[in-house]
Symmetry: C2
Subunit: 205 residues, 2 copies
Amino acid sequence: MTRGTTDTRASESRPSEARQRLLSTASQIFYADGIHAVGVDRIIAEAKVTRATFYRHFPSKDDLVVTYLREVHQMDRGAITAAIAANATAADALLAIADTIAAGIKRPGFRGCAFLNAAAEFPDVDHPVHQQIIAHRQWFLDTLTTLMAQVAEDSSDAAARHFVMLRDGAMAAGCLFNPDLIVDTFQRGVEGLVRIHGQRQPAER
Amino acid sequence: MTRGTTDTRASESRPSEARQRLLSTASQIFYADGIHAVGVDRIIAEAKVTRATFYRHFPSKDDLVVTYLREVHQMDRGAITAAIAANATAADALLAIADTIAAGIKRPGFRGCAFLNAAAEFPDVDHPVHQQIIAHRQWFLDTLTTLMAQVAEDSSDAAARHFVMLRDGAMAAGCLFNPDLIVDTFQRGVEGLVRIHGQRQPAER
DNA sequence: CAGGCTTCAGACCGAACGTTCTACCCGCTA
DNA sequence: TAGCGGGTAGAACGTTCGGTCTGAAGCCTG
């Protein structure tokens, strides 16, 4: 009872309203303008928070950055998990994932893949931000490999890598060229890839 | 005579030894560590040049950056022009270009595409650096489109865009994953693309 | 030899960087 | 009511940022 009500309140205030404002503001700015290019001053100004509050919730700017990427990872993961759950066959799931990616590229404020952009700014392999990036990419590749294997066991690794390569190319170019053409090229590529991969080992079951 | 000898000397000293040292040093550092992450101080220190000398040759750091990208563009252009000149058919030229890209990805210090990395740091479309990037990419796409059209007129635009997408993906991922696997995936993709595109409109001549 | 480049050496500028600090206020729970 | 944690406000830390300026060497050409 008391637990119930306090929990509702607590789940709203424990991640601290100010902290949430800080994180969402920083995420938007980092994604739109880059990471090294924006300073703590601007983030706290736009989040309407004082410096002391910032450093109460994040030990350093770098920690904010990895939290930002972690948040993006969660959203990506959610979208892809949903796409998989909503489709009966693995092939349809793969096409649905491509649709999700395509929709993202067409979205107005699209500025590429948050992870690829961050990788350009954090080349040091030992840096926590860089490790976050490769962890996310490994998860994505593994997820696709599993789906490809359900379509056809043979060379599912190669097919998944191929998918990732098309995605990376589309995400990288999506804000440097006509997004509609990029999306068109990307989806044609994925469709062809899934079709050809599906013809492999046709009687698998 | 006097012209001849002075020309030899002039072509060595007119681009100014210090300026050249500055540019090549900056290029290495920018490519390896990013652009916003390195300051003028470090560049002049590693180039063994004073600040005054720096600002004698480059009005600002931004100018250095566009000069750096211009240099990379020249090198890319040279490599691709050579690949085209060395191959009799357009299809072979395309495969040779893919080989060049693959060799670049396998090179030890590979850190992705200088232009894609720069794009992550300069999102402002009006910025000179960003415009340099899209100009380079437009040249690359046009070059590939011409080659694809020589293989088969039909949907050569789509085929060229597909090639660029694979390249972008390979370049972006080449320093975030096993380069050998990336190169393998990339080259398989290009081979398939060129083969399928070549089967289109088989009797073109 | 004189004149004109280039480079060197280094001080200096204001601004912004990431970070820490003190001091006070407010609303909650004990 | 007392205390405590999260918040505000703002000064200050030392460093680095991109960029300017002065002044004196060196060096080739006229």
